[in-house]
Amino acid sequence: MKTVGKGISKIDGMSIATGKPVYTEDLAMANSLVVKLLRSPHAFAKINSIDTTIAEKLEGVECILTYKDVPKQRFSLAGQSYPEPSPYDRLILEEVVRYVGDEVAIIAAIDEKTALKAMSLIKVKYELFDPVLDFEKAIGHASIVHAENDVHCNFDIGMKKELNIVSSHKVEVGNIDEEIKKCDIVVEETYYTQANAHAMMETYRASSYLDHTGRLVIVSSTQIPFHVRRQLAKALQIPASKIRVIKPRIGGGFGGKQTSAVEIFTAIVTLKTGKPAIIIYDRKETFSCTTSRHAMRLSVRLGADSNGYIRVVDIQGLSDTGAYGEHASTVFSVVGDKTLPLYNKTTAVRFTGNVVYTNKMPAGAFRGYGATQGAYALESTINLLAEKLAMDPTEIRLMNLIKEGETCLTYNGKLLGSSTLHKCIEKGKELIGWKERYPVQQIDKNRVRAIGMAVTMQGSGIAGIDTASAEIRLNDDGNFTLLIGSTDMGTGSDTILAQMAAEILEIPIENIIVNAADTDISPYDPGSYASSTTYVTGMAVVQAAQDLKRQIIESGAKFLEVSSEEVEFDGETISMIKGEGSVRLEKLAEFLVLGTGKRQLVGNATYGSPVSPPPFIAGFAEVEIDKETGKIDLIDYVAVVDCGTVINPKLARIQVEGGIVQGIGMALYEDVKFGDKGKLLTNTFMQYKIPCRKDIGNVQVAFEESFEKTGPFGAKSIGEVVINTPAPAIAHAVYNAVGVRVTSLPITPEKVFMGMQNKINF
């Protein structure tokens, strides 16, 4: 292969690295109105009165909107294909506020100062309700977070809103109670995974204006331009044909920008005033008024025989979705989807539980999407089981993990197409020095070093639902334009999709212009999430390129007045296989757009996959613990990845390193915390600590390629799987170091220290 598999630099690398004005804020119209939001100081309240008269009189204030001024149609901000499985439980503004930070009024003024001044002049009187803050007490709480009658679900997701249950979920194969009785050993543990903040460097932002035909144009830092258009149409009650969403360069997303946080506010201001508007969330709003990872409680019960074969996996969950149900049921179901198939010598498996509403900032999509929470709980319990059986934790995995060509209880006979996970484990053991260093080494009187490990899987796209389209056009000058609706938020997806097209067309990648994404121009794509872009959009690009290549050969043959079987195309020239005749691509391109009876060539494809092949990863952590303080230093992290064919080794490596470090943050530092009245405490980078350069030790990355038959060039996904192993692997290493099993994230020095004192679970 000429282009695929090469470490090509990102096509937009130089302009984003050197600070060119390519992001949403840079592109906003001059003189845009500045939009600010008045937010609720209370976790749960009803607005008894709201007086905007004085604020409206302020010079420079253009509009102030309250719940009385917005459509009464409920919607969801979840970035999911229609009909969304997330409940329609939102209004743009509502009489009831459900968390500290919930929007009360929209203010637009000529500048920020005026908008803020106006905000301070709005008078609101609230009737306070008792908030539901503890997610373990939400079910059956006297307060009901969503008592309104017009909440709507497109599917039955098990909503019982009078009990604060958004969604109930159950998968069960086999008879758990019977099978567990047959087990020689049963282990059980309960885990708590915390909410995390995405903390992408570019906070949420969007700008909007009306174009020359009066259509609403939104420029937004979003992962989901087509879903934004549909949501806006529903929320604003205008036809989708009147809306255009443009996505420029994006300063990070991690799933946060799969939930629309801001677009609706500028859009409604532009519609009401006819003027361009911009909204930029500051860091505090980004932390406290968007979405976080779902915090969960997961109880895991494993049963095994005395040889170490795992027979029963039983997981009970409870998930906190906060005030609104974006991604509530889907994140929760992924906990089971990505844990139950991993170990397949089982005779019975179950995953069941509820997602509940509370009066806190809503949860939403976040890299890993439930698999992260599930991996921490399951893998920690596997390590516990290995210890109880006195087995090497890598051995118990090698015996039990699903292999290529095998099936498992939840796959209904379907076979796993590709996996090199066993090789990943072997390679990881070598890289971390398992033989020499497992489990623990005394460094000096106070310090010990220990090793731990975990494995995980994710998916590639959403099987049977998300479907992407791609178009490739042969331009008049012999170059190509690749049109896609997916979103490169820094991952390099525009580049790897161009690599795929270049490979098929046998052309240099420089000959391809990539255009993504603009809902007026791009073919439909659900957007970039669920680890779908390489795999799903990638297949669409491959097929569109093949379609175009076929047309080039046909047109070239026609030009040469022979049949298409008699010519070949090498990326530059269409030539007769036998004989002298040939035409250069540029010449053909020119010919196809000049004169009568011509047709410019466009390759097209739409692709949706019936399967979601899992990428795999084996993670190994080495930590050093100071026994006097409980302080944990991460020394080394080894990640070995099976993402099928690696399309671009450099970009893939950075994806892994970035995801591992985010996982390290989740394992050791990051914790979204609320005060006792429901106010977010961790609303700056001072309180919410993401890893800095000193926190991460050494991260080593290796690949064990497999070949996924259903993927483009054998590729699977990589974006999400990489965040899942650090928490369980580090927890394991900590246990091996000091014998403290930390079962609630993050693994802080206090928990380790107190654990050492008490030798009980923390």
């Binding site: 470490g7 630099s9 990102k10 937009d12 690398g13 130089m14 302009s15 984003i16 690295a17 050197t18 600070g19 060119k20 004005p21 992001y23 804020e25 840079d26 995405h198 903390a199 992408m200 460097m201 570019e202 906070t203 360069r249 994006i250 300063g251 990070g252 991690f254 500051d282 860091r283 505090k284 938020m489 820094g490 991952t491 390099g492 671009n648 450099k650 970009l651 490596r653 950075i654 892994v656 390193e657 970035g658 995801g659 591992i660 470090v661 985010q662 700056t684 980078f685 001072m686 993401i690 890893p691 800095c692 350069r693 000193k694 991460i696 050494n698 991260v699």
Partner: protein, 149 residues
């Protein structure tokens, strides 16, 4: 109030409010490479040089820059491009939003430190957060750039 500053070697008069910060002033005057990622001096995205010293422009009151020399990435584009090439070849820019502040700090470090070790590099750059790359690739790029092992 009016201040006079030298931005990227050009003298400019700027109209600023008494409580306005330099990052905002620079953006207002079209220098869009200056970014903000926090409001608490934690992220380093807003780093520019004032009199050749890397400074957080998000918390520098604009009037304090009066009469001083301000350098942003546009003012050192040759050196910035040279390093950016290495960074990009390493694949170590992802979303790129943190890059201008990061690159300004790297270039300042190059001027300030001779033969830094890996430890001193990491220490110098601790105030520059990046949520995407995981830092390892950035470190590889810096080591290539400085020719250190």
């Amino acid at each position: 109030m009016q201040i006079e500053v030298i931005v990227n070697l050009k003298k400019i008069k700027m109209e600023v409010d008494a409580n306005e910060f330099l990052a905002d002033t620079l953006r207002k005057y079209g220098i869009l490479s200056v970014r903000k990622g926090c409001d608490t001096t934690c992220c380093g995205l807003c780093t520019v040089w004032i009199d050749d010293k890397p400074t957080l422009s998000c918390t520098t009151l604009s009037f304090r820059a009066n009469g001083r020399k301000i350098t942003t990435i546009e003012g050192v584009h040759k050196e910035a491009d040279e390093f950016a090439q290495i960074l990009v070849a390493e694949g170590a820019e992802q979303c790129g939003f943190c890059s201008p502040g990061f690159i300004m700090t790297v270039l300042a470090m190059k001027n300030e430190l001779t033969n830094p070790t890996e430890e001193t590099i990491v220490h110098y750059l601790t105030g520059n957060l990046c949520r995407c790359t995981g830092y390892m690739g950035q470190l590889r790029a810096i080591k290539t750039y400085l020719g250190v092992q």
